[in-house]
């Protein structure tokens, strides 16, 4: 474990050196990303000029909702920074045969393939998320319970684990397909569902969608559960959701591991 951490830090260091080599690109990426976040926040502020709450009786008034948005920003920025660059590169590596070089190295291939690139500019969103959370928490209708504060980092980790598993399974599809340029698009469509409170998925269409995104592809648990724990009072139902999220994260990691290993065993390499 220490060795893997040391290797990851070496990767991270190399990526930082590279990012600093192309400083203008790094700054531009940070600015673009922060601009997109600012537009999103402005949009939500606009929404709250029309309504005091997202869904009547849901508890998602302005400050809790911004705690929700902040949680989403933190989770997404971790995934975008640590895993997405490598997963996107995997598509190209499979197509060009660059994966060969990874498979001969004496390390877990999944670790190497999913963590060898770190996009430091993506952490900018996470920092904004932390700032937004720090702004929202003192303004919540009810301060978070100490247990909620302890559970929050664990649930953030679970959310990251679920998203990571999805990324890895999508990347594994690349090995079967040979080419999977829609990886990022598909990722974006999927994670779109996780950006809003689960309560908005109701009615004849919303209900089944909510069930699908909770029990089949547990994308709705990713942000909703940690955000609910920190921004709303703890309830018995909330406790079950916490347990469900921890279980879903563990199951997602195991399934994605199996999918990835199976895909690697089918790897045919590219012609040289």
């Amino acid at each position: 474990m220490t060795r893997y951490l040391s290797i990851f830090l070496t990767f991270a260091r190399a990526c930082l050196v590279r990012d600093m080599t192309f400083r203008a690109n790094f700054v531009l990426e940070c600015v673009t990303s922060l601009g997109w976040m600012a537009m999103n926040l402005a949009f939500y502020l606009l929404v709250f000029t029309f309504t005091p709450e997202i869904g009547l009786g849901t508890g998602w008034t302005k400050e809790p909702f911004f705690a929700f948005v902040a949680t989403g920003m933190i989770i997404n920025s971790i995934v975008q920074a640590l895993f997405m660059p490598s997963a996107e590169e995997l598509t190209e590596m499979v197509r060009t045969g660059g994966l060969d070089g990874i498979l001969v190295q004496p390390l877990d291939a999944q670790f190497l393939l999913s963590m060898h690139r770190v996009d430091f500019s993506a952490f900018a969103n996470g920092l904004v998320g932390v700032g937004l959370l720090c702004w929202a928490i003192p303004r919540l209708p009810q301060p978070p319970h100490p247990i909620a504060i302890l559970l929050y980092p664990l649930l953030i980790a679970c959310g990251v684990a679920i998203l990571y598993s999805l990324v890895i399974m999508l990347a594994a599809a690349t090995i079967h397909l040979g080419r999977n340029q829609s990886l990022y698009d598909f990722w974006f469509y999927l994670t779109n569902f996780s950006r809003y409170p689960a309560e908005i998925y109701s009615g004849p269409w919303g209900g089944p969608l909510r069930a699908l995104c909770t029990f089949v592809i547990p994308i709705l648990l990713v942000v909703n559960v940690p955000a609910r724990v920190i921004a709303q009072p703890l309830t018995e139902q909330g406790g079950m959701m916490v347990a469900g999220t921890v279980f879903a994260a563990g199951a997602a990691l195991l399934i994605s591991r199996w999918v990835f290993q199976t895909a690697l065993s089918k790897y045919r390499s590219a012609s040289s």
């Binding site: 040391s6 190399a14 080599t21 060969d100 070089g101 001969v104 004496p106 390499s269």
Partner: protein, 353 residues
Amino acid sequence: MHNSSQPRTDAPTAAGEPVIEVRGLAKEYRVFDKPEGLMASVTGLFNRKSRVVEALRGVDLRVEKGEFVAMLGPNGAGKTTFLKLLSGIITPTRGSATVLGSVPWERTDDFRRRFALVMGQRNQLWWDLPAAESFRLHKEIYRIDTPRFERTRDELVDLLDVRKLLLRPVRDLSLGERMKLELVAALLHEPEVLFLDEPTIGLDVVAQHSLHRFLAHVQAERQMTVILTTHYMKDVAALCKRLVVVTEGSILYDGSLEQIVDRFTSHKIVTLDLDAPPDRAAIDRLGFPCEIRGPQVILRIDRTRIADVLPGILRGQGVRDVSVEDVPLEEIVAEMFRSGSTAGTDGATGAPR
């Protein structure tokens, strides 16, 4: 499908045991034929035609410790597929293989720490960073302790005279410089087996020569087992005593360089430099296949008759200079490729050592 029930040890290979042992190794790929035209492409979405390509057809090979083996073959012969199987990158359709006592495609870390693969057409160093950064990463991945890492790196870097390149981004290096640094990276962990896939492809003669000297020195010093795939006869002549010729996924010849000349040619090339362009009819009367280039005559003479006929030729033609050579290796191998590709369907003739 692969045989994973073979005995496997990660202990150092004992003297006399083969470092590489391959039996009946075969690899088949299913490839889809892409039809031509728009309508055919649309139809192909629903009904794709596929066929099986045999990249390797039951190859047997045994390589002892410290051997430097060259694999020669035309494009698509199966050389790279063979190296990918021995490196564990892909799994075979049939057959078995052990490298250093391990089944390669089980991809154990212990096995992967003991070999290296260098592919001339693939870059394994970090493109935007100086090679020194990739070396540092390599140190971590292969768990090389600092004194050993520094000693090996310095030794290799000095041998290839690339110290001044270490801090330059890899993308700014020439192909030859990059390949030298790829080799340094591959050898940092002191592998016992080295697979080289066309390492000199695209290099100029100076860079080729430099790599030859380096590889010969390192292989001899470390008693490393090396398999080299190449298209260049110069690589083979400079580095290897043993040659394996592959076409269409089968081994056509496996033996020494000297043997291949004896075995597959019946004549030698005699080149005569004359005072003046000769009379064509007089040359034809000698009765040997010939080529005339100005005052130079190139004859192909049966090797058993050379001693008998050469004195007569030298007396009669005003010869200024003469050379007697074996048929160039390129020519022999090209002929083998041609005959091998026709023999492939009715069973290629393997020539055991």
